[in-house]
Subunit: 369 residues, 2 copies
């Protein structure tokens, strides 16, 4: 496959860290929420092995925040997710499918409860701000909805705990997964969550003070030398092995959360009201007709840039592959596929055409590991 | 400036024409509405001279459609734009600022009235679908809102008229600017508008039938040989000279339409109701505090990838440059800038730093030509 250059402009926003990562050797970008998101530093496989052993600092400013605050904030946030947030606590992160009135997936963010009347929706790649604004206008809610100037640095990898302890002190290691709190760096408080888009452990620093963020960026590399710190970014192979879904790649508005394995987050039996509750109840009772599953394919390379049809042994089209990559762990290609009923059983054999050659594979559960 | 590769994935959607333009030598991409949009074939300056003399076929599928249909479609469409559409006609295109309840710009699409109860919003780069959905849900409107599988081919340049006549017949030349109608190609009807994001004349073909669209694509190049047809894309220099604004580059949600020169499209004196009407009335009566203007800068190269501060002769910061490029016509850099009151007069001298060197310039009216 040929390589093409990304054309930069103000519309495809740079981040506060863009000049840093360009000096450090970023090689490719994608665009995420109208912003540059690094996609590799060298090869994805090199990045993968490093991430699983050491620690990386990621410029994930493209993971924008939608701030919702005001009297009706909690009601609006609950209205757009099928997850019951009635027992949610300040200082905690919640992974929440955002859905429309038909149950279609709008986004799959982590939602941070900053206060009873103040929330951050840490979004995947779609303009949740506009959706929330539309509903607030239509319902006459008393809320403010805007994108604050928050630019996340993710610290990921097994050595992230030691590195962060050196900078922020012992108490940062006591924070539980999906908890967040404020930690001081050179006189500036930063909201830090124990979270991140890998399963190698780590933190996300929600940088609000750009100047302090850049000083912190440099400090992480200075202190991190002994931990072999490197700049990095969300890694296709690692996130596939870990079964982390990507909105726009694996799931989109034509899918509902029950098809995507979010069953535990579809709280139709709760008392809270949300968009699509009736639609999802109906889907639950009738049963889903397609399902997101893992697949393993007996080959050693793939580049998924659009859906690729999946066939059974009799050449019936039974679904589509949506992401995929070579897994050093499984020594074959693994991927995420949407499969039609009844072809999503883990005993199902599949066939797929890659560069005009047919390969065999098998359906499997998510996550892979 | 270094070049970086664009990382492809299903999320950054390919278009039906992507494989065609990659065979034809596309060199860079941007991402527009979560889709690949070609940004150059060789140099932007070569493309500019060709566009102004011959004819180009553009893959602008990234200009997605938001279809709004149903009983309340017209009411919803009117609600989200400050332009009075009460006298709008089926078969016509309308350039409409989309605004929120504060008057902030959400998008600046062309809206096509397909029927009284069926509209296409041909969007710039933001998820208008989610905004419209939110309002429809909040207001309980009876509408369907979705993104149809429409993939626009733009035919632009002075020879586009001859080329299109050869394929679609004489009547296509009779169509007025911003009119649209249906024209047949090999048994398939295509909606074609006399429009496009250049001032060199031409058409946009709203391809709904992918197979026919690809056949048409090939036909345009076959018949177009004698007109020196080439693949192309929206051209930075041409669109700047022509004063065509780019949402996300020149204007965004923190600007209102009165600041962006859309005064004639802000119909606060009409009887129609729309979002932000009261807010815009207030802004009108109080007067705007910043204004979008042209600038000419005495140098021969610039690359604008983020806002660049503009100063007056006394080194007061008076605004920011949002797009810019070298204009062969003016033999200097031209750009689009947001300037603070009272510095937007055309007599205003400006100073700007490009690669650590200070250049002089002047404010001017839009469009440049």
């Amino acid at each position: 496959m040929s390589n093409f250059v990304i054309a930069k402009s103000r519309r495809v926003r740079s981040t506060p860290y863009t000049s840093r990562i360009e000096m450090q050797g970023v090689t490719s970008y994608t665009v995420y929420n109208h912003m540059l998101l690094p996609a590799s530093f060298g090869t994805v496989e090199e990045n993968y092995f490093h991430l699983k052993e050491h620690v990386q600092v990621w410029d994930v400013a493209g993971e924008r925040q939608v701030e919702i605050k005001g009297k009706d904030a909690a009601e609006l946030v609950q209205m757009i997710t099928c997850r019951d947030l009635s027992k949610s606590k300040v200082g905690r992160c919640y992974y929440c499918p955002i859905i429309d009135d038909k149950g279609g997936l709008i986004n799959d963010p982590v939602i941070l409860k900053l206060a009873e009347d103040r929330w951050w929706i840490s979004i995947a790649d779609s303009d949740v701000k506009l959706f929330a604004k539309g509903i607030a206008i239509g319902k006459n809610f008393q809320v403010e909805i805007f994108e604050p100037d928050v630019n996340i640095l993710a610290i990921q990898g097994p050595k992230s705990f030691k590195l962060m302890e050196e900078i922020f002190g012992k108490e940062i290691s006591d924070m539980k997964f999906f908890g967040f709190d404020y930690f001081e760096f050179e006189g500036v408080k930063h909201l830090i969550a124990r979270s991140g888009w890998s399963k190698q452990g780590g933190y996300e620093i929600y940088v609000e003070d750009r100047k302090s963020g850049l000083a912190l960026y440099d400090k992480l590399f200075e202190v991190g030398k002994k931990y072999d710190v490197k700049p990095g970014c969300p890694n296709l192979i690692e996130r596939l092995e870990s079964g982390l879904l990507s909105y726009g790649n694996d799931i989109d508005i034509d899918d509902n959360p029950l098809e995507c394995g979010f069953d535990k987050l579809v709280n139709t039996d709760s008392e809270v009201e949300f968009l699509g509750k009736e639609a999802l109840k109906k889907i639950k009772s009738e049963g889903i007709k397609k399902k997101l599953m893992g697949v393993k394919i007996d080959t050693n390379a793939i580049s998924v840039t659009k859906s690729i049809s999946i066939f059974d042994e009799n050449n019936n089209e039974i679904g589509e592959l949506r992401s995929g990559g070579y897994s050093p762990h499984f020594k074959k290609v693994i991927g995420i596929a949407m499969l039609k009923k009844p072809y999503w059983e883990t005993s199902q054999n599949i066939k797929i055409s890659i560069n005009n050659k047919i390969f065999n594979g098998k359906v499997c559960d998510l996550p892979f590991i």
